[in-house]
Every structure is written in structure tokens, then in C-alpha cells.
């Protein structure tokens, strides 16, 4: 068994400091160059003087698991596209009917049609969300990182959500530190902000205010969306980011969400080496926030590596 050539770099860059606690999935080449997957954990043993003496490695064969994951990812991807094709036609036909292209419909028929449209849109969103989260899990999402000001990200998200906010008779206020710059995939981070804002709108009482902030904290840019809605019970704070978790099972029906929005949002933030969290009090409201590394930090880190080399 040989280490896959593309994995060698991970070992070359190991230092006594990074060996201890090293753990990751690693590809190997078996007989006839078959691909094998292992999960490697390394620990460093030091003598009494603190000098590194031995490395202990534990390698677990995870090839079967990786193959099963791949089959699952492909299956979901194919099913997703197969579902989307007929749905596109259904939504298109309904859209032409609803748009009055074939004449005015009787009121009851128009109501039925509106129901069909709303639920088709919900199904389209659900399928898109499932495909999105699967693509990210399978590592098929390539982020297009570029420097951008936090204020620009917030403004883009506000533009997208403004109509929804106005329709719900809510107010949106922002407090954004204009000096913050991050290196992110702008479309994806705007998607996260829009998702958090969308949730805030859904759960905000009439005529209340939603606050968006972007501030510097612990060397990170901290984005936060605060509402004054019903809040999340303490026992559910830990699971709110899991797939298909909603505080109330009826939320999926009433609020029209897929139950995947927060899972996707957290996934995107983590792909940016960031962190996402929530603070909430029942009856008072919730704050969903995420932290992203500031651009200056990234530059410094790269500089350090060059110096070390």
C-alpha cells in the first residue's frame, strides 16, 4: 500500500507542533492502483525533557464508507435532476395559467391554482436545497474567494430581502463597521445573510425591527441578524442547525421553509473557515451570527509561512 502522490504534501509540511493531534482522511493506492481511503490519527510522544521521541499513528480503513458515501451522493444528484425536469414543466404550465395567458379563471379555480403554485415553488426550493447541501458535503462546491467589504455583502443581502421585509411590515436597521474586509465567495455569503434575514422576517412580530450588524470581534468579522420574535427554547439551540430541524413541526407548512436553510448556511460559513452560532431567549428574540476571518489575518498567515520557509 502506497500513499497517494497528491497526499504527500500533507506529510511533508508536518512539524513536531502539528503532528500531535493530526487527524484527517487520506488516500492510499492499493494493489493495481486501486484507491483506498484511510483515517489517520497521529500523536507525538515526548520524553521527560519534552523532546519528541516517538510518533504513534492509528490508521483506520474507511474505504467501504467512502464508497457508500459516493454512491449516495451520485444517487441524490441524479434523483434531484430527474425531479427538477418535470417540476420545471409543471411550474411553467401553472405560471402560464396563473398569468392569465389563456384567459381569466373563475375565483375558485384561481385559488386552487395559487395553492398549486405555492406548493410547487416549495418543492423546487426543497430539491434545490437538498442538491446544494449534498454538493457541499461531497466537496463539489468550489468557492470563488475575492476580497470584499462587509458593508457590500450586507447591502446586497438587504436589496434582495427588502421587498419581503416591506411586505411583512417590518423595519430593517444596520450597523456596519465600514473598515471590515473579508475574502469570501460573495454570492455564497450573501446567500447566508439572506437566509438568516428570511428566517428573521418569518418569525418577527408585526411592525418590529430586524437588526443586521457587522463588527470586528476577536480578529474576525462578526455578522449578526437579530429579531424580536418568539425565540428558540434552550433545549433546541444545539440542534437548530441540523437538517430538517424546526422548532415547531408546523413551521414547515406555515412558513414554507425547506428545513435545510440553516444547515446550508452553517455549511457555507464553515467552508470559509468560519463559525456560526445562535443566542436566543424565548419570548424575546434570537440573534444568529457568524464569524469570518478578516482579510488582513489571511495575508499575515501567508506571510508567516513564507518567513518560515
Amino acid at each position: 500500500m502506497l500513499t497517494h502522490p497528491e497526499e504527500l504534501e500533507a506529510f511533508r509540511s508536518l512539524t513536531p507542533r502539528t503532528i500531535d493531534g493530526f487527524q484527517r482522511e487520506i488516500r492510499f493506492l492499493g494493489c493495481g492502483d486501486t484507491a483506498l481511503w484511510g483515517y489517520l490519527t497521529l500523536s507525538l510522544l515526548r520524553d521527560e525533557a519534552g523532546i519528541p521521541r516517538q510518533v504513534i499513528g492509528v490508521l483506520q480503513d474507511i474505504t467501504t464508507r467512502k464508497e457508500a458515501e459516493q454512491v449516495k451522493d451520485e444517487f441524490i444528484s441524479v434523483v434531484g435532476h430527474e425531479l427538477r425536469t418535470p417540476l420545471t414543466s409543471i411550474r411553467g404550465s401553472l405560471g402560464l395559467l396563473e398569468g392569465g395567458v389563456f384567459g381569466e379563471l373563475p375565483e375558485e379555480a384561481a385559488n386552487m391554482l395559487a395553492l398549486a403554485v405555492i406548493n410547487t415553488d416549495r418543492l423546487v426550493r426543497l430539491i434545490n436545497d437538498i442538491l446544494d447541501i449534498e454538493r457541499m458535503d461531497a466537496g463539489r462546491v468550489e468557492l470563488e474567494l475575492a476580497p470584499i467589504k462587509a458593508s457590500e455583502l450586507v447591502n446586497s443581502a438587504m436589496q434582495i430581502i427588502q421587498m419581503t421585509v416591506t411586505q411583512a411590515e417590518l423595519t430593517l436597521t444596520t450597523e456596519v463597521d465600514d473598515d471590515l474586509t473579508v475574502a469570501v465567495d460573495a454570492d455564497r455569503i450573501v446567500q447566508v445573510l439572506v437566509n438568516l434575514l428570511g428566517n428573521a422576517v418569518k418569525f418577527s412580530p408585526h411592525h418590529s425591527t430586524i437588526t443586521v450588524t457587522a463588527t470586528a470581534e476577536h480578529g474576525c468579522a462578526r455578522f449578526a441578524v437579530t429579531d424580536t420574535g418568539r425565540g428558540i427554547p434552550v433545549d433546541q439551540l444545539g440542534t437548530i442547525f441540523e437538517r430538517f430541524r424546526q422548532v415547531d413541526a408546523s413551521d414547515a407548512r406555515e412558513k414554507g421553509g425547506s428545513g435545510l436553510g440553516l444547515a446550508i448556511a452553517r455549511n457555507i460559513v464553515e467552508h470559509h473557515d468560519g463559525q456560526m452560532g445562535v443566542e436566543s431567549k424565548v419570548g424575546q428574540g434570537s440573534t444568529f451570527y457568524f464569524m469570518l476571518p478578516l482579510l488582513n489575518d489571511r495575508v499575515t498567515i501567508q506571510g508567516d509561512q513564507r518567513d518560515a520557509a
Binding site: 411550474r91 411553467g92 404550465s93 405560471g95
Partner: protein
């Protein structure tokens, strides 16, 4: 006389919906083709066209390949070609434009908005 648009998609339902939308709302005369092959035949015999609206992923020869053949003298070079694609993302958009497409419209499209979207791309 209304303008002629060549519509290429392997899905019958999509052709029907897009045709109704473009003809009734947009005022186009739509000539449908169910494959890249069929589109090339029609472009040869039944031209000229004022625009082409074409799916990207089709069995047989796909949209970009069909476009390549069209640009080899079958279609007048100034005729705009717009792609319909279910693949989203800036990279895919750029790739299609670099192949010589005039514009890209995302699937699923809203049939009430489709004629406007086509018009906007053509007016650019």
C-alpha cells in the same frame, strides 16, 4: 411580420411552454427543434432566424456543440444565440459566453418573464 426564433430543447413540455410564452406574450414566431441535429437541419433549410434559444444539455449533440456547427456558416454570424441552462453559477455562465453565446437564461424559467428576459439580452 413577427420575428422568427429557433427554439431548441429535447423536452417536449419545455418546448410547448416556451413556445406559448414567446408567441403569445412576446409576439415571436417560434420554430421548435427537438435536438441539436434537428436544429442544424432547420437552420440550413428554414432560415433565416432573428434569434436562437437553445438548451445546453441535450442527448446527441449538446447545445454548445450545436452552436459551434451553427457558427461554421450555417447561421449568419450576427444572429444572437441564447442558452437555457439548469446549471447555475458564474463559472458556467462565463463558459457559455466564451463559446460565443449572446446570453444565458437560467432554468427553471418563469414563462411570464421569459419574453422580457430574451428581449433584454437582445437589446444589450
Amino acid at each position: 411580420m413577427s420575428q422568427r426564433l429557433l427554439l431548441v430543447d429535447d423536452e417536449d413540455a419545455i418546448r410547448t411552454i416556451a413556445s406559448i410564452s414567446l408567441e403569445r406574450i412576446g409576439g415571436w414566431t417560434v420554430i421548435p427543434a427537438s435536438s441539436g441535429q434537428a436544429a442544424l437541419e432547420i437552420a440550413r433549410k428554414d432560415g433565416p432566424f432573428d434569434a436562437v434559444l437553445m438548451d445546453v444539455m441535450m442527448p446527441g449533440i449538446d447545445g454548445p456543440t450545436t452552436l459551434g456547427h451553427m457558427r461554421d456558416g450555417i447561421l449568419a454570424p450576427q444572429v444572437p444565440v441564447i442558452f437555457l441552462t439548469a446549471k447555475v453559477g458564474g463559472a458556467e455562465h462565463e463558459r457559455l459566453l466564451s463559446l460565443g453565446a449572446t446570453g444565458v437564461i437560467a432554468k427553471p424559467f418563469d414563462p411570464m418573464m421569459l419574453p422580457d428576459e430574451v428581449r433584454q439580452i437582445l437589446d444589450c
